[in-house]
């Protein structure tokens, strides 16, 4: 029941918004925030009462003759992702409070609909249900990005849409193949089927899954849609994309690819890892040279996703645990950073790093929040980025010392581009663009404070999260052996 409510509440909110279409913008905002907060409360309840021995299960027959079920379950990994989604969506909605979007009812309905689908992805235990939600999550975000985006948005978001659907279609072939082989669509039962598949076919399965998820994250060389899409989309869509949708890719690697193509991962994982790390370095170097602050964060996102993919592909407890922790950390930090970019843009009307500077003098609060989130993103010890990144680097290093050493450069490169961003935008002399910069207030603080608090909380007590996911990760690793 609990699992079902997590899907139904945002769905009902979304439909309610569509019914209230004629009403004013305040009502739309309130309905959206109340619904997403209600979902958050349920998620927190699930988090607090979680017991790894008795996971929450819901199972209804969906297609009887094909034995496909509406099967949801919450284990540690799902719980973490569900809580992250439930935490970020209210913040994303809150971040739009100072802005009035045209067709507001549809706008908020689409955000809540995306939340519904994301919840579904993270809880689904039937491969076709997973695929169903996986695709469904993209549709609302595509429309938000394309309709409320910049001048070039239709073209760029369309590229994103075609690119990602193209990738997921490969996954669909792989899933249909597994389904025919195993005569079941239940992920847990397919884990045993997967072992019977020949290494050659597992190699094909690996690539089908890897391409699908690598496009979603994205990983080099499938990233070409990402920087444009992140920078042209309206900020809420960018937050959804970077904070949550990209996490579906990593989640898919952990839940679907690792256990369903274990020999494929063993044979080809190294190439995937090299691609991921190459993307990490490539993204970082471009981020260092970026002057557009939104693109800079887009590239930093790309770099972070590369490290997570590499960690998962190592197939070790450290790697997966690190990726899970880092997913939460990066989701939170990305939403925070994109929000700060939006705040800066709203006030100065520019995203050009060279035009900014000296904002700190007027804005003690914003500076502190920015600093905390930035440090989390740089992975300073005692912030949320540190533990995850450390575990990820260790797992990559254990797998292959050379790749590990190169991936380690991320610590330096990450610090360079983030500190450069902070320094050029916030410090230095103020100019006419930034002279009248107002400090954050009201709803902006309501977004930034929880994010900054989480950066520190997760930095101090990473074990809260690691403990929850460990049994689930171990059970997946059991399957690989």
């Amino acid at each position: 029941m609990l699992a079902l409510t997590l899907i139904l509440i945002p769905l009902i909110g979304s439909l309610l918004l569509l019914l209230l279409k004629g009403s004013n913008i305040g009502t739309s905002k309130n309905v959206a925030i109340v619904t997403s907060l209600a979902t958050f409360v349920i998620a927190i309840y699930a988090f607090a009462t979680f017991n790894a021995q008795s996971p929450i299960e819901v199972k209804y027959s969906w297609m009887k003759d094909l034995n496909i079920n509406f099967h949801l379950s919450i284990d540690g990994i799902s719980l973490l992702m569900v809580t992250l989604t439930a935490f970020l969506v209210p913040l994303i909605i809150l971040s739009t409070y100072k802005h009035s979007y045209k067709n507001h009812a549809s706008f908020y309905a689409l955000i809540l609909f995306a939340e519904t689908a994301l919840m579904g992805v993270f809880m689904a235990r039937d491969i076709f249900l997973f695929y169903f939600f996986f695709e469904a999550a993209l549709i609302p975000v595509y429309f938000i990005a394309a309709i409320w985006g910049g001048k070039d948005a239709p073209r760029i978001t369309f590229k994103m849409f075609v690119y990602t659907i193209f990738g997921s279609l490969f996954m669909l072939v792989a899933l249909v193949y597994l389904y025919i082989k195993g005569a079941t669509a239940d992920i847990q039962q397919l884990y045993t089927t997967a072992k019977m598949i020949s290494p050659t076919n597992q190699g094909l399965l690996f690539w089908a899954f890897f391409i699908a998820f690598a496009i979603k994250m994205p990983v080099l060389p499938f990233h070409t849609w990402q920087p444009d899409a992140y920078s042209e989309s309206p900020t809420p869509a960018t937050m959804l994309l970077s904070g949550l949708l990209s996490k579906m890719g990593v989640y898919g690697l952990i839940r679907i690819m690792l256990p369903l193509a274990p020999i494929g991962v063993a044979n080809w994982g190294l190439i995937g890892m090299i691609l991921s790390v190459a993307g990490l370095i490539y993204g970082s170097i471009i981020a260092i040279q970026q002057n557009n602050i939104k693109r800079l964060i887009a590239y930093s996102s790309f770099a972070h996703m590369g490290l997570m993919a590499a960690g998962v592909l190592s197939g070790t407890l450290n790697g997966i645990q690190g990726a899970l922790l880092q997913m939460v950390a990066h989701g939170i930090n990305a939403v925070g950073l994109f929000f700060i970019v939006k705040i800066i843009y709203d006030r100065t009307n520019t995203r050009d790093l060279s035009a900014l500077g000296g904002i700190t003098q007027k804005t003690p609060a914003l500076s502190i929040y920015f600093m905390i989130i930035m440090l989390g993103s740089v992975a300073l010890p005692l912030t949320n980025g540190f533990v995850g990144e450390f575990l990820l680097l260790k797992s990559v290093y254990d797998k292959n010392a050379w790749i590990g050493a190169i991936a380690g450069l991320t610590i330096i490169l990450g610090a360079v581009y983030m500190l450069r961003l902070m320094q050029r935008s916030m410090f230095g002399e103020s100019n006419e663009v930034t002279a009248k910069f107002k400090d954050v207030s009201g709803s902006e603080i309501a977004v930034l404070f929880p994010i900054a608090a989480m950066v520190l909380l997760m930095g101090f007590f990473p074990n809260i999260f690691l403990k929850i996911t460990e049994p689930a990760v171990n059970s997946i690793l059991q399957m690989i052996k």
């Binding site: 027959s61 969906w62 297609m63 009887k64 003759d65 094909l66 076709f128 695929y131 169903f132 939600f133 695709e135 469904a136 549709i139 429309f143 394309a146 309709i147 948005a153 239709p154 369309f158 849409f161 075609v162 659907i165 193209f166 279609l169 490969f170 669909l172 072939v173 249909v176 193949y177 389904y179 025919i180």
Partner: protein, 464 residues
């Protein structure tokens, strides 16, 4: 069997209704007649049996196909506005011909005898030739009708030739008896005409469903015909055609699977490749939908390739999903294009949809759902339609065929999104569009149907 009787009678009645002074009664009367036929169709549910001296067979599958045909016909007739726009038109005759053509379509879903198949195909085709050219003063319409007639007559001829050869090989027109014969072990090789006959029969039927390489008539005919009849052609003719192909292959020639599967696979691949790649370059919405119709024939052939005990319900589901989405799409086109005339004809370019979201958000939503469904995106019926046919093909081990189909689905997304982008992200000119309540109800139903079947596909799937 009742719908055949009902529609034959009501078709005649409709002709006589044309003598009345007021033409307004024709639309509601025709809707009523089709609705009665639909209900009478359900009488035979769970009562399978042979009718008319073993000429026709009622089974749950054929009843489902008939229901889809009659449902589509009801929706399409409701969108026709009674053809009263044109003062020279003879609406009674259009309505009568539509009802007669349905008789042919229904015969194609439940024939037990090849002669019945031929009569059904002919009734349906001849009606369609007339309706294609019903816009008498339009030169494109005339060209389309002539083209359709010449090519169609040729294809029917080939089909009849095939039926004659099959009779020579099997000494029977009855499709179940033919199967019994095929299952008997023989020492000798089977006669060559058997193979030629099967091939010719399939060519004739595949022409009707516009599968490549027999698709050349489709774009021109779809574009030239009045949109309402294009809708009719692309939904009802296709459903009936696939019902017939499935029936003849399943009942009669499933023992010869090893002979015909290569042919079907080649046609499926050709249909998918040609249509999807050509559709990308189309600027006319109607032509794009014509190529989309060819591509859907290709997808449905995948189910035929995977012939097994679930194929029937896969084709039923696919036909229904496709029909609902196509009716929505053409419905939107009819409304959006009627105001803008280019050379005396409605403007049917994709650009006519520009700014639709501002002019009428409801129509834009209908268009979006129908395009998503045709593209096979989850949450819509089209996704499960594709899923079922893919699963069928995969169950026979044709994974590589799936890869082709999947790549072509990705191409499909590219062109199906053009109208959506036009509707939401381009600025349009012209005033807001007002909708009559009948249009609202019909388009609302097709859209809702697409979504409900996208969430609960078992509603239809469980019927079989």
């Amino acid at each position: 069997m009742y719908p055949i009787l009902v529609l034959s009678v009501t078709g005649l009645v409709t002709l006589f209704l044309g003598f009345l002074k007021t033409k307004k009664i024709l639309l509601p009367a025709s809707l009523l007649f089709v609705a009665v036929a639909f209900l009478s169709n359900l009488i035979d549910w769970n009562k399978p049996g042979l009718y008319f001296y073993d000429m026709l067979e009622a089974s749950n599958l054929s009843i489902l196909f008939t229901s889809i045909i009659l449902l589509s016909a009801f929706l399409i007739i409701a969108l026709s506005k009674g053809f009263i726009d044109d003062e020279h038109a003879q609406p009674a005759e259009y309505f009568a011909i539509l009802q007669f053509s349905l008789v042919g379509a229904i015969m194609m879903t439940n024939f037990q005898n090849l002669i019945m198949l031929f009569i059904g195909v002919e009734i349906l085709s001849v009606s369609m030739y007339i309706l294609t050219g019903s816009d008498k003063r339009n030169i494109r319409g005339n060209e389309a009708a002539l083209k359709y007639f010449l090519m169609g007559a040729f294809a029917t001829g080939i089909m009849l030739f095939g039926i004659a050869m099959l009779y020579g090989a099997n000494y029977t027109f009855n499709i179940s008896d033919a199967r019994t014969l095929l299952l008997q072990p023989i020492t000798d090789v089977r006669p060559v005409f058997l193979y030629v006959g099967v091939t010719f029969l399939l060519i004739g039927l595949l022409f009707k469903v516009s599968a490549a390489p027999f698709h050349f008539w489709t774009p021109d005919v779809y574009e030239g015909a009045p949109t309402i009849f294009t809708t009719f052609m692309s939904t009802i003719v296709k459903t009936a055609g696939f019902a017939a192909i499935y029936r003849i292959l399943e009942v009669s020639f499933s023992p010869m699977y090893n002979f015909w599967w290569v042919m079907i696979i080649v046609m499926a691949i050709l249909s998918l490749l040609i249509s999807n790649i050509t559709a990308v370059a189309q600027s006319s919405f109607k032509r794009m939908l014509a190529f989309s119709s060819i591509s859907h024939a290709g997808y449905m052939l995948l189910a035929i390739v995977g012939l097994g005990n679930k194929t029937g319900s896969s084709i039923v589901f696919y036909s229904l999903a496709y029909s609902l989405a196509t009716i929505s799409a053409f419905g939107v086109l009819i409304i959006a294009s009627q105001e803008k005339l280019v050379d005396g004809r409605p403007d049917e370019n994709i650009s006519v949809l520009n700014g639709l979201a501002k002019k009428n958000p409801f129509l834009a939503a209908v268009l979006t759902v129908s395009m998503l469904s045709l593209a096979g995106i989850p949450l819509t019926a089209g996704f499960w339609g594709k899923f079922y046919v893919f699963a069928d093909a995969a169950s026979r081990g044709h994974i590589w065929l799936l890869v082709v189909a999947i790549l072509m689905s990705a191409v499909g997304i590219y062109y199906y999104f053009k109208p959506i982008i036009a509707a939401y992200m381009k600025e349009g000119e012209g005033e807001n569009i007002q909708l009559s309540s009948l249009y609202k109800i019909i388009l609302g139903l097709t859209t809702l149907g697409s979504i409900i079947l996208g969430l609960f596909p078992d509603l239809v799937r469980e019927l079989l």
